[in-house]
């Protein structure tokens, strides 16, 4: 396995060689057209096992169904079956006005609803060619970064649970609760927040908002250390995550993988830095990268990202200006004919909105570029030749949300 991954890292392979969705039924009794070695005992009657993981399985994070072809415990191939949570968000968008559609985006990546809302609002603002006022941008940044921490915390808990460490789950949920409390106080909702409006924010911060956010910062920093004491140097954790689910930078780019998964492969790319939106250009923060592109690096990258988010929030809370929170937006939003693509760095990767306007009050076409969906495609490349236990670890490390995969 390690030889294979080394090879992968050195040579940029022809993308066609790892295309997904090779029909499993065709391969049932031969391994000839698979790229890895044949089983050690071809003369034993070693039927490959086809296992159906999900859609109801403790470790598939929702209703993902993965069909695994196994030789013993070794994964020969996978096929993802998705769509169990398909709600037709893009179709709904075509039948709602721009304002009416705003709450729907929260239901896609429901653990990072604020990010979804930010991406959508900014895309429409761009289409209208308006800018949110600075104070609104600061509030947006604070809430979005809080949401990134919450999303990473949820990821960490479930990922650790998949690998068998039960306890971090409860620690992360305890601390995520504090973020949800801030959301609830700000906009009345905890999960599907609908925090932003097109043109800015609807709500002014509540009294004591800044103090609570600052309290949260001092509260959560030692908690992140606490998670790390449980996992970072834990021998079993290292063995379970190092060299597991390796994806090289070339592969990651070819497969369109974004977010922490891409950064762990060594590509220093973050939309907040590369194509700054809101007012991320004002803040001083770093983009963590990994070297090996394995599960452990992705874990480290996300841990550092949480700390960097804290840094951003601290700067934003200290520098939050006075002023209006809503730009001048017409009562009825009717963008001119045209199309726009806008993307933000969601906790899971590049979340893009492609909106086509025909000049009416409803989007003519609204396409969401979901990070989870595209990242999930890399699963097959990452788990081939590994063991069943690694499939679980890799699904966890991809940090997918099925609401976003299926939309």
């Amino acid at each position: 396995m390690s030889e294979r991954t080394k090879e992968q890292a050195n040579v940029l392979p022809d993308p066609a060689s790892y295309v997904q969705g090779t029909k499993l039924d065709k391969l049932t009794h031969s391994t000839s057209n698979l790229e890895f070695e044949t089983p050690d005992h071809p003369y034993l009657d070693s039927n490959e096992l086809i296992i159906n993981m999900g859609p109801q399985h403790p470790a598939t994070h929702g209703v993902l169904r993965v069909i695994l072809k196994l030789d013993g415990e070794k994964v020969l191939g996978t096929e993802c079956v998705i769509g169990y949570l398909h709600r037709g968000v893009e179709k709904i968008a075509e039948n709602r006005t721009y304002t009416m559609f705003n709450p729907y985006v929260d239901r896609m990546d429901y653990v990072a609803a604020v990010s979804n809302g930010l991406g959508y609002c900014q895309a429409v603002e761009k289409l209208l060619n308006i800018e949110a006022p600075p104070r609104a941008n600061y509030i947006r940044v604070i809430l979005t970064e809080l949401n990134r921490i919450a999303s990473h915390q949820l990821w960490l808990g479930t990922h650790a649970l998949d690998i068998g460490a039960m306890t971090p789950l409860f620690y992360t949920f305890r601390d995520r609760e504090e973020i949800l409390k801030i959301f609830e106080k700000y906009c009345g909702a905890r999960l599907t927040t609908h925090a932003f409006r097109i043109g800015g924010c609807q709500y002014e911060t509540y009294a004591g908002f800044e103090k609570e956010v600052k309290n949260f910062l001092t509260f959560v920093a030692p908690k992140i250390d606490e998670y790390e004491t449980l996992l970072t140097t834990n021998r079993i954790w290292l063995e379970r995550t190092k060299n597991v689910g390796v994806i090289s930078a070339a592969d990651a780019i070819a497969l369109g993988v974004t977010g922490p998964v891409l950064r762990a492969s060594g590509v220093k790319w973050d939309i907040r830095k590369a194509l700054p939106y809101a007012n991320y250009a004002d803040f001083d923060f770093e983009i963590p990268t990994g070297q090996n592109g394995d599960t452990y690096d992705r874990y480290l990258v996300r841990m550092v990202e949480m700390r960097q988010s804290l840094r951003i929030i601290e700067q934003a809370v200290n520098g939050i200006p006075e002023g209006p929170i809503m730009a001048k937006v017409p009562k009825v939003i009717k963008p001119a004919v045209g199309e726009i693509y806008h993307s933000i760095e969601a906790p899971k990767g590049e979340l893009g909105y492609f909106i086509v306007s025909d000049g009416s009050t409803q989007p003519y076409r609204l396409r969401v570029r979901p990070p989870s969906f595209v990242n999930l495609q890399a699963l097959d490349v990452m788990v081939r030749g590994m063991l069943v236990a690694d499939v679980v670890a890799v699904i966890g490390t991809l940090d997918i949300v099925l609401g976003e995969v299926d939309r």
Partner: protein, 430 residues
């Protein structure tokens, strides 16, 4: 029948009463009931302890602090529908949990809770124990196969490979402890469980500290292997929840499933008992040589009572701290009564300790001795049970190939080395 044979096999001298079949039967019944009750209590303790590790409260609703939860669980499991999958191998599916349970409980026939507090004293005690506990895997393997389903089959394959591998390291660690028993004037060791503890008594040291660090290394290897042997975290691959849903017992439900749980906890207790017997001096109290004399004897005999008194104290504290809402009235009364019960037990234990303080062979003295033996044995086993819970709360799960690698490439060479070194040091010391 087995016990009938065992009683004949057992030397008529040790363990005193157990040579008698009537007593053997009584012991068997006591142990069967006792282990079942302890398993239920363990169930509650594990849930509570795990919950507190994880900043939760655990069961709180059924009875004060969830004290009646095990009973509710047992009732629920008994009343649940018993599903046998249509495609399963009916007979094997039916018999598999019984194999596991049988193996787990048979082990208790040789566990010495005291010099005469055992069902039998076989001269192959430890061999028998290892052999029977290794039969437990048959229950898991047949269960996984009989379910005729993929996840259970993978679980069964994993657990059979795992248990066979770890038994080797475990056996070698045990052998190094047995070697230490032969360091007496006669030069003959023993396989008898009671004999092993007596050997530690004669040599005046727990085998954990013998030839330091050799005994300690063997003990650590055994302590790791026993976790693997009982399929507990971090070696719970056979029932790895996040990978195989529930592993070998995925298709089991209701009472049959609870038999697996019973067998698992019984096996945990059994392997802990082996570890205590072999390395931690079995029923002996701490420092029997250093702190000897009637005064120390008396102080140590107060420990059982003190333990129960402390438990009663905590219970009363909990009663006081309960909210003074009328909703909690019944819970408060229940907890108070439970505390009183514990206090009563503590009182009885104190009375026995004081009444039997002179080692004069009277009934009170013998009772006190018996209680001391059982108490210290159980106390040491309890430490291991707590460790089992602690492991589960702290560590992620090993992957299968890593588990095998640790078993064959790390534990086996180390235990072999320890065995050889122990033999060499034993000869040199002589």
């Amino acid at each position: 029948m087995l016990n009938y044979i065992m009683s004949y096999l057992g030397s008529p001298l040790t363990p005193g009463q157990a040579g008698n079949q009537f007593w053997a039967l009584i012991y068997v019944l006591i142990i069967f009931a006792g282990v079942s009750v302890v398993v239920m209590a363990m169930n509650w303790l594990e849930r509570k302890a795990l919950a507190h590790f994880q900043i939760r409260l655990g069961p709180m609703r059924v009875g004060p602090h969830g004290l009646l939860q095990p009973i509710a669980d047992a009732l629920k499991l008994m009343l649940k529908e018993d599903i046998i999958p249509a495609e399963a191998d009916q007979f094997v599916f039916w018999v598999a949990p019984l194999i596991g349970l049988l193996a787990a409980f048979t082990v208790y026939t040789v566990i010495p809770f005291g010099p005469s507090q055992a069902v039998s004293d076989m001269n192959i005690g430890i061999l028998f124990m290892l052999g029977v506990s290794s039969l437990g895997v048959l229950g898991i393997v047949t269960a996984g196969w009989a379910s005729n389903s993929h996840y259970p089959l993978i679980g069964a394959l994993r657990s059979s490979a795992q248990m066979v591998s770890y038994e080797v390291a475990m056996g070698l660690a045990v052998v190094s402890a047995i070697l230490m028993t032969s360091l007496n004037t006669a030069g003959t060791g023993t396989l008898s469980m009671i004999g092993i503890v007596q050997a530690q008594q004669q040599q005046g040291v727990w085998f954990l500290f013998k030839f330091f660090p050799l005994g300690a290394i063997a003990f650590v290897i055994f302590a790791i292997a026993m976790v693997a042997e009982t399929n507990r975290a971090p070696f719970d691959l056979a029932e790895a929840e996040s990978e195989l849903t529930a592993g070998f017992h995925t298709e089991y439900s209701g009472l049959r499933w609870s038999l697996f749980m019973l067998a698992e906890y019984a096996a945990m207790l059994a392997v802990s008992a082996i570890a205590v017997t072999l390395w931690l001096g079995g029923w002996m109290r701490p420092f029997p040589n250093l702190l000897s004399g009637p005064a120390w004897e008396f102080i140590f005999s107060l420990f059982p009572g003190l333990t129960f008194a402390a438990l009663a104290g905590f219970t009363f504290l909990g009663t006081i701290r309960m909210p003074s809402h009328s909703f909690f009235k019944i819970q408060r009364i229940g907890l108070g009564v439970f505390g009183l019960l514990l206090a009563f037990i503590a009182l009885v234990l104190f009375i026995i300790a004081i009444a039997g303080r002179n080692a004069d062979g009277s009934l009170a003295a013998r009772t006190r001795e018996g209680i001391d033996y059982v108490y210290w044995f159980m106390f040491k086993v309890a430490i291991f049970m707590y460790l089992f819970i602690w492991y589960r709360a702290t560590w992620p799960r090993y992957r299968f190939d890593q588990l095998m690698r640790v078993g064959w490439k790390v534990m086996l060479p180390i235990s072999l080395g320890v065995l050889i070194l122990t033999a060499i040091v034993g000869v040199l010391v002589k």
